[in-house]
Amino acid sequence: MMKRLAYILMSILMLGSCYRFDPAEARYTDGPIWPDYMDVTVPVGIAPLNFCYTAEDGPVPVTTFIHGETSISIKGREVVWKDKEWKKLLKAAKGGDITVRSSVLPDEWTIHVSEDGIDYGINYRLIAPGYEVYSKMGIYERDLSSYKERALIENTQFDGCVNCHAYNRGNPADYSLHIRGAHGATLLNIEGEMAAYNTKTDSTLGFCVYPYWHPEGEYIAYSSNNTRQGFHVLPDKLIEVFDLDSDLQVYDIRSNSLITSASIKKKDVWETFPAFSADGKTLYFCAATPRPIPSETDQIRYNLCSVDFDPATGAIGSQIDTLIFAEGMGKSVSFPKPSYDGRFLVYTLSDYGNFSIWHHEADLWIMDLATGESRPMSLANSGDTESYHSWSSNSRWMMFSSRRDDGLYTRLFFTHIDENGQEAKPFMLPQKHPLHYYNYLNRSYNVPEFVTGPVDLDRVKAEKLINSPERIQFGIR
């Protein structure tokens, strides 16, 4: 009892105190530091890559960062940068390497500072990696040059779940945001005007999800999915998310109407995850042959397909091309994302299905759109799940979600992609005290997207729109 009282008193006294690194918290890796920032490539504008040593004891390390004449030493088991020093060093090292030496490690390593800049920030959903019920969640924005995170919208404001969000090449002025639940709606913000839409029509399968903006900003491709979940009874797997049906459609912003076509709405094909090519003349998507569920869930395999799109008329072609016949490889494609410069397309490859986040084997692959050749992104992939990914507006950085640390909680990583499509060793989204932060973060990063500036989402107006029954109905063309 006295011990408990002492614990209460000590803890209350420490409430106002500053954070102190506890080396006993160090986990996740057999490597000497965490996050693993050894030999990574970073952009100039990134927030300081603070890290900690994973050894609990031994001499206190001194870590020295050297570039040219500049040498900065930081003592401690947790390396915490002063923001100005870090920014200055990165600026000086742009296009070159920072050499890092540690007093307790035999080998030095480098941090390569790319000449390619990165976007202002990122948006993502934070949600517990669960099943059907959700607790607090929302869409958040993180400024990549600092550790600042702010909530754009949270489900404390209404009954429901905030879901698919997408920007036009990271443009924060144009976005599509889907809300599920009793107050279901799609919030569209076009050139600063926000409105709530009902995207479900009599002629389509259901609500419009998985949005992808046309590069000219006049269309948004959506899919409609009849999605279900199943729960495994064996420990290696937990959840299976699958569609019982799905179709694609393109929303014409100017005429407030959905454009459908028999070619992307076949009864004997499940089409999903649409994405426009960089020139806006091709619509990529994943397509699978329906299989009985649940008996053949592990036989559902999505191929990467494409169809022509005419931006002038909104006409969708009739000829479907299969770019990757994943079925033949015994694999399945999800989340095709073409780079905005039109050179590459990155997708996730898993054993089956389309909800790759619950597949430990899921990896990222990159396809050269000029040659049609694909290869796994070996430097970015890990032994666990890699899934959702998005390109920076200059197509030189890719952000992706991975469960490599604990197999459940999704975290964000960034990899540089050079002009030949070669990825660099990725680095984890920096935090001021990364070990402590990620240890106590009980939510996963979900659907991360780059943004080129702060998103101006009027939370109060969004709440009014969502809680109001008024919806603008999507038409059909």
Partner: protein
């Protein structure tokens, strides 16, 4: 007040404290446990900062701090009685020229708060906020100059709103009433009241800009009730009763009015108490608590005293029967509501999946148990995490070998008071996974959980899953008991007969005999060839049952004689 009156008043307060303590400790203890498991109070700067970032955050943090002691029901009852006692005392202290006859009026706010706290989803944050507000108004009223006092109070309003939420309006409300009663400068008092009203109206509008909550919650309180769309009316009545009691106190000057004020204070609460207490829920929470603690005999004793009449009560009773080895022999001695009473379907709320998850855990369906626990935790309406469920999730992840995920829960539990020791012990196991099997519970769970058959959970195919559990490990007799009970409750006698033949021991349990006899009678012309484990007593009893049935006896009469048999269930229940 004279000495005698002081003693009477002190006695009244003491009696109130005792009454509240006795109620929550002896009549409502499982409500206390329910409250405790709906939160995970963590010591640490992060949790503190997260908590106080929301209007009313400090009150919520302080409330959470107190509720963690609800781990022990007597501690919870004591804390509630002290809080209500403080409310009463501070209301009394805020009365201008309080008299003996007015003293009972100070019980009005805590009496309303008592009724409020009978709701299992009412949060004690509201009581904390009232106490803080009354303490502040009492302190401020010690400032003699009304102008200075009013300015300080107005300046403190934003801070109080941020710390304790909208209930802090009580500070200016009580001060204004007292100022009027003191007959201070009326212009100053009126200006103060007006400014306070404006401020109270404006603060939620300002808070809305940085707090992601709807306006009604910012007005009525973010943390006073677990359900965000519920307006905590009783908490607000309790708030309103403070200035009301202070205002009418001067009317009760004469001692002979004491009886009247006592009646005003006590009677409404006493009359309303039965309306606001829910003993059915108390029993449900009791079943869940006993299942959590493995108090199987206590569950059965409870079910003996009060026939289980809800799915949760029935499923906990069946679990207790299974854990004590009596499911096959005694389950029909208790009310059965069909297969849903064995393993109810998942419902999207924060409570009912918990006992069901507990059943799946004991059966060895660790993933399914994990799903139910996780969903229950996610379903907590005020977005809190649960220490109890985090502990359960740490266990399921540890059993499944997902050590890093288990460590995440353990890390959080290490920051709690009552789960800390468990978390530290578990952390040692996570550091040395080879030691996990030295804990009998984990060793057993690892031996009985599903290891080979990868199938999707399906409520419709529970019999297959239970069968596979037994096939993978035939020491998991509970899985077989549940499989057979599942067949019996669904009245699927062919499937029962098929599965029953897999039993190597215990096949002659009473209900199994009853089912086999019934199945035999339905599928054969005579008793020839009936399995020899059927006792003469069972055969004779069955003959008696059939004779009684054919004689047209009514259900009540049949229940009296055969109510504890499977035959009665088969003919009269789950139609």
């Amino acid at each position: 007040m004279n000495r005698r009156q002081t003693i009477i008043c002190s006695g009244l307060s003491a009696a109130f404290l005792l009454l509240v303590f006795a109620f929550f400790n002896f009549i409502y203890p499982y409500h206390i446990h329910y409250q405790e498991q709906m939160q995970m109070f963590r010591f640490g700067a992060d949790y503190f900062r997260e908590s106080i970032a929301v209007p009313g955050g400090l009150g919520d943090w302080a409330g959470g701090f107190l509720v963690q002691f609800f781990y022990y029901a007597p501690a919870g009852a004591l804390i509630i009685s002290i809080l209500l006692g403080l409310m009463q005392l501070l209301t009394w202290k805020n009365m201008e020229k309080g008299s003996f006859a007015a003293y009972p009026l100070s019980f009005l706010p805590p009496a309303a708060m008592f009724l409020f706290l009978c709701d299992e989803n009412a949060l004690i944050t509201a009581a904390v906020a009232i106490i803080a507000s009354l303490a502040l108004s009492m302190a401020l009223m010690k400032i003699r100059k009304a102008g200075i006092r009013s300015i300080i109070a107005i300046l403190l309003m934003p801070a109080m709103y941020m710390l304790f939420g909208s209930i802090s309006i009580l500070v200016p409300a009580v001060m204004a009433v007292r100022a009027f009663l003191r007959k201070e400068n009326m212009k100053v008092a009126a200006a103060f009241a007006f400014a306070a009203l404006m401020m109270a109206a404006e603060l939620p509008l300002i808070a809305r800009e940085y707090s992601p909550y709807p306006l009604d919650r910012l007005y009525f309180g973010v943390h006073y009730h677990r359900y965000h769309n519920a307006i905590p009316m009783l908490a607000w009545i309790s708030v309103l009763l403070v200035p009301a009691a202070v205002a009418i106190a001067p009317l009760f000057r004469k001692d002979r009015m004491a009886a009247l004020s006592l009646a005003v204070a006590i009677l409404p609460a006493a009359c309303l108490a039965p309306t606001f207490t829910d003993m059915d829920k108390e029993r449900l929470f009791g079943y869940d608590f006993m299942a959590r603690m493995g108090q199987w005999n206590k569950i059965l004793a409870t079910s003996d005293r009060h026939a289980p009449d809800s799915p949760i009560a029935v499923e906990c009773t069946n679990l207790a029967l299974a854990k004590t080895g009596h499911l096959a022999s005694d389950m029909f001695a208790f009310f059965q509501n069909g297969p849903a009473g064995l393993l109810p379907e998942f419902t999207r709320d924060h409570f009912s999946p918990v006992p069901t998850g507990t059943v799946y855990y004991h059966l060895g369906m660790v993933n399914t148990a994990q799903t139910f626990f996780f969903e229950a935790q996610e379903g907590i309406p005020d977005f809190q995490k649960s220490a109890r469920l985090s502990q359960a999730l740490a266990k399921t992840n540890l059993i499944n070998g997902d050590y890093e995920v288990a460590r995440k829960y353990v890390n959080a539990l290490k920051q709690t008071l009552f789960y800390r020791k468990w978390a530290k012990d578990t952390e040692k196991l996570l550091d040395n996974p080879g030691q996990i099997n030295s804990v009998p519970e984990y060793a057993w769970m690892r031996s009985v959980r599903m290891k080979e058959h990868d199938i999707m959970f399906s409520q419709e195919e529970l019999d297959s899953m239970l069968g596979l559990l037994y096939v993978e490990n035939d020491t998991n007799t509970m899985a077989m008991d549940y499989l057979l009970a599942w067949c019996l409750l669904r009245k699927d006698l062919p499937r029962f007969f098929e599965c029953h033949q897999l039993l190597k021991t215990g096949y002659d349990a009473r209900h199994y005999q009853e089912a086999v006899v019934l199945y035999w009678a339905l599928t054969h012309d005579g008793p020839e060839g009936m399995p020899d484990f059927i006792s003469r007593k069972t055969a004779a009893s069955f003959t008696k049952f059939i004779t009684a049935l054919q004689s047209g006896r009514n259900e009540a009469s049949m229940q009296k004689e055969f109510g504890n048999t499977y035959w009665f269930y088969y003919h009269y229940r789950f139609k």
